[in-house]
């Protein structure tokens, strides 16, 4: 299991949720995992039902078996200031730079700089060791930008190559790339069993591979459980279903009876269901062609709360992640 787990995927497919569940799963049995957010939306705090996270590592959950999940929401501006401070000893001038929008400028207008700062911070956490020489975190899980941007985001070297050929940013980019392109890292994509997210996943994995980044697993989220165990036979007799409904106490099976009136709508719902299942089967087949491990996480009908998150984590562990 790679120590840096990057979770991307189409917007809204459940990147933040799955990244959090993965961190919990990896922390199980006394391990330490750091969950990192890079888009400044406080999604992790919401998920773990805590107040907004400051720019520092904080314990947010205890995993089954005593493991710990820490979380970090990276603030790009502060990260850049830290960075400038470290290399240039700006003193109070840093604040002045911020005031006139210079920091905003540097992090916005040169997206490469922003990405190097973010990935740099993450890689630092991956490599950090304590006094005994053990890794500070067994695992680092990154709730990453969506599929459309992930390759550029991780491929910081290329991005800053045109900007900085020497100097600290350049060195940092080199160090980051050594971690990201190594087996220490795995990039997973979250998807749904729908056409567009699956298409993005297929394209995204191809892009990652082309860029030499380690394509990890496909995490299919919000999978609906099977309800009908076999297809409805095409020659199913309405009357038989009406009788069964009636037998279950739902009214008369005769034409116009209350049970009989349910038959057509129930069969229509079954037809919808089967159409959806067929569509899902095609999407699964497309994903299988990638030749990567695929995991499925069920749709929790009542939405995600802390208990739901633990359930997803348990599911991931069961599937050997």
């Amino acid at each position: 299991m790679s120590r840096l787990q990057v979770v991307s995927g189409k917007g809204g497919t459940g990147k933040t949720t799955v990244a959090a569940a993965l961190a919990l799963a990896l922390a199980t049995e006394g391990k330490r995992a750091l969950l990192v957010e890079v888009e400044g939306r406080q999604g992790i705090a919401q998920l773990f039902e805590t107040e907004a996270l400051p720019y520092e590592e904080r314990k947010v959950a205890v995993a089954p078996g005593g493991g710990e999940v820490y979380a970090l929401a990276i603030d790009v501006e502060l990260a850049l200031l830290d960075y400038l401070q470290m290399f240039y000893r700006l003193g109070g001038a840093g604040r002045a730079l911020r005031k006139i929008g210079a920091i905003d400028f540097a992090t916005t207008i040169a997206p490469g700089v922003r990405d190097v700062l973010l990935t740099g911070k993450v890689c630092e956490a991956v490599r950090r060791k304590d006094k005994q020489g053990r890794f500070a975190y067994d695992y680092v899980v990154m709730d990453a930008p969506p599929t459309g941007r992930i390759t550029r985001f991780l491929n910081v070297n290329d991005e800053v190559a045109g900007l900085a050929k020497i100097g600290p940013i350049h060195n940092q980019a080199q160090a980051v790339m050594r971690v990201l392109k190594s087996p220490e890292t795995a990039v997973h994509l979250v998807t749904l069993l729908e056409e567009m997210p699956v298409q993005e996943t297929v394209d995204g994995m191809a892009e990652l591979k082309a860029a030499g980044l380690p394509a990890g697993r496909v995490l299919v989220n919000m999978v609906r459980p099977a309800v009908l165990d076999a297809p409805v036979p095409t020659d199913v007799r309405r009357q038989d279903i009406a009788k069964a409904l009636s037998r279950a106490g739902l009214g008369g099976a005769r034409k116009g009876g209350r049970a009989e009136q349910l038959v057509e709508p129930l069969l229509a719902q079954a037809a919808d269901y089967e159409e959806r299942v067929a569509l899902e089967r095609r999407q699964r087949a497309e994903l299988a062609e990638l030749g990567l491990p695929v995991h499925e996480l069920e749709l929790l009908a009542e939405g995600i709360d802390l208990a739901g998150l633990f359930r997803l984590a348990a599911e991931l562990r069961k599937q050997g992640l």
Partner: protein, 433 residues
């Protein structure tokens, strides 16, 4: 079954009204903005108007079905549109739109210099807000051509619908902003009283940034800004002009949302924002709403009935009653024993002709149908709750509902279907399948 019926949104009069010139479909990511925009465009065209639809990142198959899968950044007439109107459609190419602005405002030599500038290239290829800015820009261009009765605009996939309103201004301000100007000519600004500090900050700033980013990068930015600046009247001005277009009476915003908590919360923010900006909101499209033809049967009763059937099957198996599935059909209405216990507790007038000779397969299938139904009804109840919450907050917003279709929407027939539902969903309680 809506508790607080919202004001219905009647789409057809809006589409037919010659005063309606621009319709904008906004909403959170993935809710159906592109589908709604294309469906409205098709419907308006088939009702006789000359329409252009500006789509952004449509699904591949949908684009193919409209014949706009080749990115050439100009509207193409869509074939197989019925009726008297015309439908033209295009897919936004943001880089091309940016390039065109440059080319339209500079001679060949200068525009080449800009187009080749590395900073320009990274800016036009996907800077935050570029897509929104270019969507606005394209809308402005289409409007000024005066070729169409109606322009239907899709908005970029972003997590917040507000980005569409904010991003162009932000990018515009940024490019026109004090900061970037200062970067170009520190001396000018520094000479003004009170700006001394800024100047000091600035030279240190360019120095630091230069070290950080490489001097070449800063020079690229400076060259770019200089070239752009002398050419045309500013990004911010352009963004503002289109923004005003959006406030004009001929514009109608449609907020698209799925009946889910996050999407509706986003829709509520957007509705409030439109009001604050005095932008005309036509209404809310609730997309992918579920319904049931058997809504009279509650989830609880369906589940109880399914369990009842399962128990009987076990009893039947023990009693050796399996294998009767090929028995001739009992004539309907023949007298049959009462079921052991009636789930709803009533043996109504239409009789309970439950029978002990029910086909075992049919019985098993029926438990499945009942469980599927229970699931559907639970979903309906959840959707209803989120919808009621929105209506309670914004009772003034007109609403139309579109059913969740089992498959996705990827051809003209599918768009027509969505169009029919958009038109009908405001007048009847639920347009669900």
């Amino acid at each position: 079954m809506s508790l607080t019926p919202a004001v219905p949104l009647d789409v057809d009069p809006l589409l037919d009204d010659p005063e309606t010139r621009i319709m904008v479909c906004c909403g959170a990511g993935g809710v159906g903005k592109t589908t709604t925009a294309a469906a409205l465009g098709l419907r308006a065209a088939e009702r006789g108007r000359k329409v252009v639809v500006l789509t952004i990142d449509p699904a591949r198959r949908l684009a193919q079905s409209m014949g706009i899968d080749s990115l050439d950044n100009t509207p193409r007439r869509v074939k197989d549109v019925d009726g008297p109107g015309e439908l033209h459609a295009m897919m936004l190419d943001m880089k091309r739109t940016f390039d065109e602005i440059v080319e339209a405002h500079a001679d060949a030599e200068r525009s080449r210099a800009i187009l080749e500038n590395p900073f320009y290239q990274s800016l036009s290829a996907g800077f935050a807000g570029t897509q929104e800015y270019m969507a606005m820009e394209k809308l402005g261009q289409l409007r000024s051509r005066e070729e169409w009765d109606l322009i239907v605009v899709d908005t970029p996939p972003s997590r917040s619908a507000l980005d569409f309103l904010d991003a162009p201004k932000n990018l515009g301000s940024f490019l026109d902003g004090k900061f970037i100007r200062v970067l170009m000519a520190p001396a000018k600004v520094g000479g003004r009283a009170g700006m001394k500090f800024l100047n000091v900050g600035m030279s240190m700033m360019t120095g630091t940034l230069g070290k950080l980013l490489g001097g070449q990068f800063l020079r690229d930015v400076q060259t770019f800004v200089a070239a752009m600046d002398t050419m045309f009247g500013g990004f911010r001005t352009r963004a503002d002009a289109t923004y005003q277009l959006l406030q004009a009476p001929g514009t109608a915003f449609l907020v698209v949302a799925a009946p889910e908590r996050d999407a509706l919360r986003e829709a509520a923010y957007f509705v409030e924002r439109l009001a604050a900006e005095k932008m005309p909101l036509a209404g809310l499209v609730l997309n992918r709403v579920h319904g049931s033809g058997a809504a009279q049967l509650s989830a609880e009763r369906a589940l109880a009935a399914a369990e009842n059937l399962d128990e009987r099957r076990i009893v039947d198996q023990d009693a050796g009653k399996v294998g009767v599935q090929n028995s001739p059909e009992t004539p309907s209405g023949s007298p049959e024993p009462e079921p052991a216990h009636s789930v709803d507790g009533t043996n109504s007038a239409d009789g309970t002709d439950g029978t002990d000779t029910v086909d075992a397969h049919a019985q098993h299938l029926t438990t499945g149908l009942l469980r599927l139904h229970a699931e559907r009804m639970q979903l309906l109840a959840r959707e209803q709750r989120t919808r009621d919450r929105f209506t309670a907050l914004h009772p003034e917003v007109a609403v139309t509902e579109v059913a969740a279709l089992p498959g996705d929407v990827h051809d003209l027939a599918g768009l027509r279907d969505i169009g029919d539902r958009l038109a009908a969903g405001g007048t009847r309680p639920t347009g669900a399948a």
